[in-house]
């Protein structure tokens, strides 16, 4: 082992170490948490956050930022709680047009959940288009996605004017599975991390995708289309955002337009906490998932510490700053060697 690999190793291990420290502290504070039930309860909400973080990571890979992921996840949750369960007629807007209708006599196109799938596919399509737009017009992604965040919120309110709806039973079943030995959230986290890792770190096109963030000119000269790269990454972000919304609605059982507003900042923090960088295509899918879990557990940790909620946000920020400060130290070591 030479001197250069040590900081690099420390850098890639930092997310895992932070997670282990937080987990250890929680078990020490609240031994009850160190059980199947405890891990299940504490980590179940980490699954949608992990999906959202991976979505954000896809966008960050190509040096962009998605400020609309939170409201997009909320939109997916609203669509899943209405159209994916009962088709178009589940929308309060449409139900108002057929006040007396008997569900059995309604035409097929009003009751089929396929409409829900179509809308979700359209959502991913919109994400792909955004990627194309941002690349073609060379627009700042922050402005475009900030604008989109209001669009998604508006659409969510149209789909579900007041909180409600009902998650499709199959999503509920999947999210409440109780596999033996290992709680579902942990299995899900491992699967998400593995899938994203294989896709972005182990395939040859994954290298191109990351390269588009690191050195776009080189990628372009080598004959690859940057437009296609942006479209692919934004579409991937849309796909993972959709999975975040579906898993969230499986946990909450019903939708609410404002359900996931915090996810925008949480997902960015998760990526950075997990060892990613805002620019340069330097990302870590496994780290991002670990980052998402660390942030979720930080909330539990602070609440077990009995820190007043007014301080919790600040304390969560402090945890983030400590980890980032550690990373800055490692970066410096890396440069020196």
């Amino acid at each position: 082992m030479n001197a250069a690999t040590l900081p690099r190793l420390a850098r890639s291990l930092l997310p895992a170490i932070s997670l282990a420290i937080i987990l250890g502290a929680i078990f020490w504070l609240q031994p009850r948490a160190a059980s199947y039930l405890g891990l299940n309860l504490m980590l179940s909400l980490a699954v949608p956050i992990a999906f959202a973080t991976v979505a954000q990571m896809c966008v960050i890979t190509v040096n962009d930022l998605d400020l609309s992921i939170g409201t997009f996840v909320g939109f997916v949750a609203c669509v899943a709680a209405t159209m994916l369960k009962g088709g178009l007629i589940a929308l309060p807007l449409v139900a108002g047009l057929y006040p007396e209708a008997d569900p059995a006599t309604l035409p097929f196109w009003l009751t089929t959940p396929l409409v829900g799938w179509l809308v979700l596919a359209l959502g991913i399509g919109v994400y792909a288009l955004l990627g194309a737009l941002i690349h073609a017009r060379d627009l700042p992604s922050i402005v475009v996605t900030l604008g989109m965040s209001f669009v998604w919120l508006g659409l969510s309110v149209l789909v579900l004017p007041t909180p409600g709806g009902k998650a499709p039973d199959w999503i509920r079943t999947v999210m409440t599975l109780k596999p033996p030995y290992v709680p579902l959230p942990i299995i899900a986290a491992v699967l998400i991390a593995l899938a994203a890792h294989l896709l972005l770190m182990r395939t040859s096109y994954g290298a191109i995708l990351r390269g588009a963030g690191g050195n776009p000119k080189a990628i372009e000269r080598a004959g690859w289309s940057l437009l296609k790269v942006k479209i692919a990454m934004f579409a991937l972000a849309g796909l993972f955002g959709t999975l975040a919304g579906l898993s969230l609605v499986g946990l909450t059982t019903s939708g609410d337009a404002n359900i996931a507003l915090r996810y925008t900042l949480l997902s960015i923090a998760g990526v950075i906490l997990g060892g990613g960088e805002f620019v340069g295509g330097r990302i870590s899918p496994v780290g991002a998932v670990i980052g998402a879990m660390t942030l979720t557990l930080a909330g539990s940790f602070l609440s077990f510490m009995r820190i007043s909620p007014d301080w919790q946000i600040g304390a969560q920020g402090a945890i983030l700053i400590i980890v980032l400060a550690l990373r800055a130290v490692i970066d410096r070591l890396e440069k020196r060697t």
Binding site: A33, P161, P180, V182, L248, T252, S254, D256, G299
Partner: protein, 340 residues
């Protein structure tokens, strides 16, 4: 290892479940308040009432703990995580003012499955395993019209001030008012504005609609937080002040008292006391005590009339809202009423 601890914790939960109906004592039981928002005077009063009632209860050894928890942001996912943490912290009951009627159902179900009693109030949840202390807002709206019907036998034109558009509470109160008007044909609602439960907004909205309304408005039906603004708008337009229903806010009561002293003005005031959190506390205590409690309970309104106006105004702080803390006996009465 995980399997072993999992089994142990399951056993513990099972044991807690079995022990529950047998134990008539709640001295070792811990109750938590999960609150989604603390940003207005009503919620602040609610939290103060909670402290005022639960601290002596803990000191007297009725329960082991009654800790309030408020989420920093009014967010469903944050409160869901809070509920899960409270379950892990080993609370026996969670008293819940929920951020969403449906979206917390998953977390509430998990709490129930872990053997925790969940009592929701004000912001109630629809999950069947939880208890609900609901407010009959519809009845509140209807009561306003019933009062006016008794006071104004000739009937006449009414102005309706609604709350925040799209909120369930606004719909319910308004439905009640319209039902009341349908039963009392002598009244007619000639105008309706949204005052957003806010004096300044209500004043602007009423001032805006007044020129288009007939001169003989006899009554204003409101939702609370808007009566004072309506009175100001009528005064500014130089119109005769109709009977304005008040909503227990201090400025409304102070204005009413001023008018009462000056010209014998008569009206009534109705709203929900923030102290309903203490009612929920006692209900949770009763459930932990093994009492049979129906899942749906109804909170009594806090109504102020001509004769008890002074007393209520005195105990209401400036900028606050009239309040009442509930006792164990009040809770038992509410439970009995629901059991019938």
């Amino acid at each position: 290892m995980t399997r072993f601890t999992g089994a142990v914790s399951l056993l513990a939960v099972a044991a807690a479940l079995c022990a529950l109906p047998a134990a008539a004592e709640t001295a070792d039981k811990r109750i938590a308040l999960s609150n989604n928002y603390a940003g207005n005077s009503w919620r602040q009063a609610m939290l103060r009432s909670w402290d005022k009632v639960t601290k002596p209860a803990v000191e007297a050894g009725i329960v082991a703990a009654a800790d309030p928890f408020t989420t920093a942001e009014n967010q469903v996912t944050e409160q869901a995580a809070q509920i899960q943490n409270l379950v892990l912290q080993g609370y026996n009951a969670i008293v819940l003012n929920a951020a969403s009627p449906d979206a917390l159902n998953g977390a509430v179900k998990e709490a129930c499955d872990a053997g925790v009693i969940v009592v929701s109030f004000d912001g109630i949840v629809t999950e069947p395993c939880a208890w609900r202390i609901a407010v009959d807002f519809k009845q509140m709206g209807k009561d306003e019209v019933t009062y006016l019907a008794g006071k104004l036998p000739e009937g006449g034109n009414l102005l309706e001030i609604r709350g925040l558009a799209g909120v369930f509470v606004d719909d319910e109160i308004s439905k009640g008012i319209h039902e009341g008007v349908a039963e009392n044909a002598k009244f007619k609602i000639v105008g309706s504005v949204h005052g957003d439960w806010d004096q300044a907004k209500a004043q602007a909205a009423v001032a805006g609609i007044l020129p288009s309304l007939p001169d003989d408005i006899v009554g204003v039906v409101t939702q609370g937080g808007d009566g004072y603004g309506a009175a100001q708008a009528f005064a500014a337009a130089g119109r005769k002040t109709p009977t304005i229903i008040m909503g227990n806010r201090q400025d409304e009561l102070a204005w009413w008292k001023e008018q009462k002293d000056a010209n014998g003005y008569e009206t009534m005031s109705v709203s929900i006391a923030p102290g309903v959190s203490t009612l929920a506390f006692w209900v949770a205590q009763q459930i932990l005590d093994g009492k049979e409690v129906p899942k749906d309970l109804v909170v009594p309104f806090l109504r102020i009339d001509q004769d008890n106006l002074e007393k209520n105004l005195e105990t209401t702080e400036k900028g606050g809202v009239a309040n009442v803390e509930y006792t164990l006996e009040d809770a038992q009465k509410v439970i009995e009423a629901a059991a019938k």
